[in-house]
């Protein structure tokens, strides 16, 4: 079940309501609050009968639409895992599609129960939302055209200020690029499509982005691109929930941890294989590795 | 004033002109001698204005020829074929013929002085200072010395027409054409324009005018041409044309101005 504000009809009612409230009070939240005061979100979700997850739709391999128009990706798999844990049915999820900037606001305003949207854990964000345990360690890298001027990371470094990279607009993106390529210029685009287009059109020399995305793109068009072969700036991807609900946070953490190390490992490993092309090693039996 | 002994300046022979199927000029013959004031009169639709415009090549004509100082206007005949002259040659010929229009046609984006100067600097190639001097002289002559920096919209119709006359005269044309120059004016403004024209006529300027001001024509013109249905129906000295109209059409035409003519004449 995907709720989205596109092909008008279903959303028309909601939007007319939105217009009306915009005209009237400028506040009245239009969707029912996801949580009653005093009880845990866990209880609310169970009573409601489905989970509401905030995510996006334009960033493979995390959350995107496949050729049949179905929402898929690593974030989506994590959300379905939660639904399975709650209702024994991975389909009982409602996805609310939102832009990256809406991730924290939608939690604060309780529009969603949880955000699964390639969210980088930072101390600043942790002040506004509670992060779950991370389920992916991301790094940034550069991808070039296979028939372009630059073949290796050393070529990029040597290019100095002649080098232009495209990237998805982001708070830290320029600083991160400059850590390894201090003189490179970074053109920031609103959508990952546009950033990639800029590389395809050879408007830029390289696409600067998440290694997961680069790996995915290289898989899709193996002869077209080359990976500069250098990753830096480690950062952790986790889900986030509204602050101040330890029961809910703990439940999600439990599911995630056991996906990575316990009963749901096979499900998790299959997703890793599918989206990142990474084969995970089966956790060793014996002493739990997280305390090793 | 000019007599028949003066040199022939303009010579039109068998000029015909049609708009589509409608034949407006059916073979006009006309001579204008140096220093003469020739007036074209006739009912509207008789072809006076069209003929005037042919002289300045604002209209193309099909057959016949118009010569200025013996040089054919607008066309040359080459192995019996009539060819139109180049735009540059036509422009040069036009520069020798001045024209004043019914609707003044002052350039709206230029002051009175600039209007007069434009042709002097761009066509005659005179230096700006000299052009300005000439412009001021002529504006002074038409009584508008104090209006030279005014734009057309700031001038009355009569003043605009006087600027237009100054603009035409300043080019020192061999011949000056006037196309019903007082028709668009309020009655009280007509006199000031006619006065300027009379002044020009006295100074020896060769003029060909289309006018409905019969009194003025009678007083100022040396030669009057009555046009009717695209041909010259009668021509001669004013006294002759006005007092001995040869055709009923001319009698009828003049009858409309009877009061004015007898009253003043």
């Amino acid at each position: 079940m995907v709720r989205r504000g596109i092909l008008g009809l279903s959303a028309a009612g909601a939007a007319v309501g939105g217009l009306a409230s915009a005209g009237l009070g400028l506040l009245a939240p239009t969707s029912a609050r996801a949580q009653e005061a005093g009880t845990s979100r866990l209880q609310t979700v169970l009573e409601r009968g489905h989970l509401i997850v905030g995510t996006g739709s334009t960033n493979p391999p995390w959350h995107f639409e496949d050729e049949s128009g179905t929402l898929v990706g690593m974030d989506i798999d994590m959300a379905r895992l939660l639904a399975r844990g709650l209702f024994d049915d991975p389909e009982k999820v409602e996805f609310v599609l939102q832009g990256p900037d809406a991730r924290i606001p939608s939690l604060i305003t309780e529009k969603v129960d949880i955000v699964c949207q390639f969210m980088t854990v930072t101390p600043g964000r942790a002040q506004q939302a509670d992060f779950t345990v991370p389920y992916y360690r991301e790094g940034v890298g550069v991808m070039m055209m296979a028939d372009g001027d630059y073949k290796t990371f050393d070529d990029l470094k040597a290019a100095g200020s002649d080098l232009t990279l495209s990237a998805l607009q982001n708070v830290f993106i320029e600083d991160w690029a400059h850590k390894e390529l201090p003189e490179a210029r970074v053109d920031q685009f609103e959508s990952p499509d546009a950033a990639l287009q800029a590389l395809n059109a050879r408007r830029v020399d390289g696409y600067f982005g998440d290694q997961s995305a680069i790996r995915w793109l290289m898989q899709q068009a193996p002869d077209r691109y080359i990976d500069a072969g250098r990753g830096w700036m480690p950062n952790s991807y986790a889900s986030a929930v509204k602050q101040g609900d330890p029961i809910w946070l703990n439940w999600v953490n439990t599911v995630y941890r056991e996906a990575m190390l316990g009963v749901d490992f096979d499900y998790f490993a299959a997703s890793y294989q599918k989206w990142f092309g990474i084969t995970l090693e089966t956790p060793k039996v014996g002493f739990p590795s997280e305390f090793a | 004033m000019a007599t028949s002994k003066a040199a022939l300046l303009l010579q039109a022979r068998g000029v015909t002109k049609s708009f589509g199927d409608l034949e407006i000029l059916k073979g006009i013959d006309l001579d204008v001698r140096q220093g003469q004031v020739v007036a074209l009169i006739g009912a509207s639709g008789s072809g006076k204005t069209t003929f005037l415009r042919c002289i300045n090549l604002l209209e193309e004509y099909e057959r016949g020829e118009i010569r200025l100082d013996g040089e054919q206007i607008g066309y040359r005949v080459e192995s019996r074929e009539r060819r139109r002259l180049s735009e540059a040659q036509v422009s040069a010929q036009r520069a020798r013929i001045g024209m004043v229009f019914q609707s003044f046609n002052l350039f709206p984006h230029m002051s009175a002085e600039q209007n007069v100067m434009l042709g002097l600097t761009k066509v005659r190639g005179k230096p700006k200072v000299e052009a300005q001097e000439i412009a001021r002289h002529w504006l002074d002559r038409v009584g508008l010395a104090d209006r030279r920096d005014h734009y057309p919209y700031q001038l009355s119709g009569g003043q605009q027409q006087r600027v237009a006359i100054a603009r035409a005269v300043a080019m020192e044309p061999r011949l000056l054409l006037f196309d019903e120059v007082t028709s668009a004016l309020d009655p009280e403004l007509v006199a000031e324009v006619l006065a300027v024209m009379q002044d020009l006529a006295r100074s020896g300027m060769t003029m060909l005018l289309v006018s409905h001001e019969m009194l003025f024509v009678r007083q100022v013109a040396d030669h009057v041409v009555f046009m009717d249905g695209g041909v010259v129906a009668q021509a001669g000295a004013p006294a002759e044309v006005f007092e001995r109209p040869a055709t009923p059409r001319l009698r009828q035409f003049l009858g409309r101005f009877h009061g004015i003519l007898t009253g003043a004449g």
Binding site: L27, P29, D193 | -
Partner: protein, 221 residues
Amino acid sequence: MERGTFLYEVWVARWSLLSGFGITLSASVLTIAIATLLGLILGIGLTYGWRPLRWLIRIYVDALRGIPVLVLILFAYYGLALFKINVPPFWAGVIALAAFSIAHIAETIRGGIESLPQGQTEAAKAIGLQFHQRLAYVIIPLATRRVLPPWMNTCAEIVKNTTLLSIIGVVEFLLSNQQAIARNYLVLQFYLFAAVVYLLINFTISQLGAKLERRYAHFRY
């Protein structure tokens, strides 16, 4: 058809392109409907309104016409969220487009009404019609003819402006083409394809407009 050729890729992307086309059309139609209705009301208010009301509308109209549509769209998308108004991107876009077009249509309507000869209104007054009757039977029908051409222009502008919705992630026709390009790299082909489709939409609108104009052509005054 071979994989990688333009027609094959259009075929593969047909549903996504169709849905994009549908979104472009629905966004355009909704915007045109809202903007025309409210623009008409504001336009009448701007012409006949009580003075302070007129000023208010004037400020709205002038302000909205001085802001880029893209900024309005981004503002509606990011800004309204702060008022806890749950607006999905599609509707944020429609609201912004409509807000902008209302201003244009209101101004058009005012111009149309004010260009009517005074005599018409006076004649309507003279036969004793009340304000709303004069509006309904005389002024609006007569102004329609004047307003029709600029209104059709605004409609075409609205269709073109719906492409800006792609920037806040609404998968309208342009973005559906870009998604296809992201898969198959047929940049020029798909952009030209998109251009032709927009051209056809706007051409249809202008044909429709010409037809309407002919129908109203007998209103001469």
